[in-house]
Amino acid sequence: MTTTAASNTEGAPVVRSEEDKTVKCVVWDLDDTLWSGVLLEDAQVALRDDAVRTIRTLDERGILHSIASRNDHGLAMAKLHELGIADYFLYPQISWRTKSAAVEAIAKSLNIGLDTIAFVDDQPFERDEVRFAHPTVRCFDAADAGAVADRPEMIPRFVTDDSRARRAMYQADIQRKIIEDEHRGSPDEFLASLGMSFTIAPAGEDDLKRAEELTIRTNQLNATGYTYSYEELDVLRRSPDHDLLIAGLRDKYGTYGKIGLALIERSSEVWTLKLMLMSCRVMSRGVGAVLLSYLMRRARDAGARLRAEFIATGRNRQMYVTYKFAGFREVERDGTTAILEVGDAPIQDFPPYIEVIVDEATTRSRQS
């Protein structure tokens, strides 16, 4: 199920200026902000209801939370666990250094821009310090904590299932990174240890917001760079001459969400891949070739030649390599645009380390 949080419920493009770029992470102070009182003076500090309500509301919209507090790290973390809200915060920065340094460390760890961060603190001095170092960070007084969720920059255009699971996805990534750093052995053995399962299904109406987001946000693993709006994708999804497929990935640490998209234009003899993209979060998982292998088999079973468009953008060479190593060859070229076609090489079986689940509806012939 998908809901729209923005006032624009029809999904028409909303042009946002830089100033009202949606916030991706809110960074909270602790003493007299998240809780009433100062922890080092009073071990019985109580959570502020308005702050907690805002945190829960934003979390459901896919906006992340973190902490910048001058405090004793061990003591403060223990208190957060005791209060049952530690899980909301990613990369909490609790130390005696400046808040601007803490905010910067959080942006870096999450790999997001400072202009997508908001900061809440009861001390005017701290807000000024952060604002001075990072003018694009949105700073709020803790007294307004309860109203923060109503601000326009806290209302994403879409709230998808992927947004709601965003915090869990980041937490799972933290887990995986630790395991990968410790891994000794071949890359395939590491992939096998993840227990991945990859799903391929026709994009449903619920998937279109995420699909639009993928076409806009994906650069490196994007074969053509075409962007499509929600409405265009909705038309293509229903078109008898097109297949719009969306792919998801999960492993034993949790879900990566919907991470891949393919658009196929079908005629009786030739199928053309207009769009093939994978989220950069799954770049090292090798799933692009799995989706391609599936599409190659499906075209072959339908007796069609499979072609793919490729437009070099300077950042997407990996997609060209993926096509070529999957057995595609270039049959036409016009400047940076190439048409590739599957040759006679045998199609690879799916790798043993990944379970591939194909939604039955995709195998049903829709040719009429």
């Binding site: 890359p187 395939d188 070739a289 799995v290 990996q318 060209y320 993926t322 190593f325 790798p351 043993p352």
Partner: protein
């Protein structure tokens, strides 16, 4: 760089992907497991960076990357 050095460097690089398996010079590496996009990209990057050559679109064919022997030939041809 002489052919033997090129060969040894390529063999050493590939060995990390196939631990516990002694790769023959003409052995088809793509028959040993699934060719994922990450491996393909890493292999192209390795050949370009470690031998200072540029793999052009027309060089990017499976047969040029299929075995240690094929890779040696590719490097020698591009470096000359």
């Amino acid at each position: 760089m002489i052919a033997q050095q090129i060969r040894d460097k390529i063999a050493a690089y590939l060995s990390r992907f196939f631990p516990g398996h002694e790769l023959g010079d003409s052995e088809d590496i793509f028959s040993l497991g699934f060719v994922n996009s990450m491996f393909a990209m890493q292999l192209v990057n390795f050949v370009e960076h470690d031998f200072g050559i540029e793999i052009e679109n027309e060089d990017m064919e499976l047969d040029n990357f299929r075995s240690i022997g094929a890779l040696v030939k590719l490097v020698e041809r591009k470096a000359s």
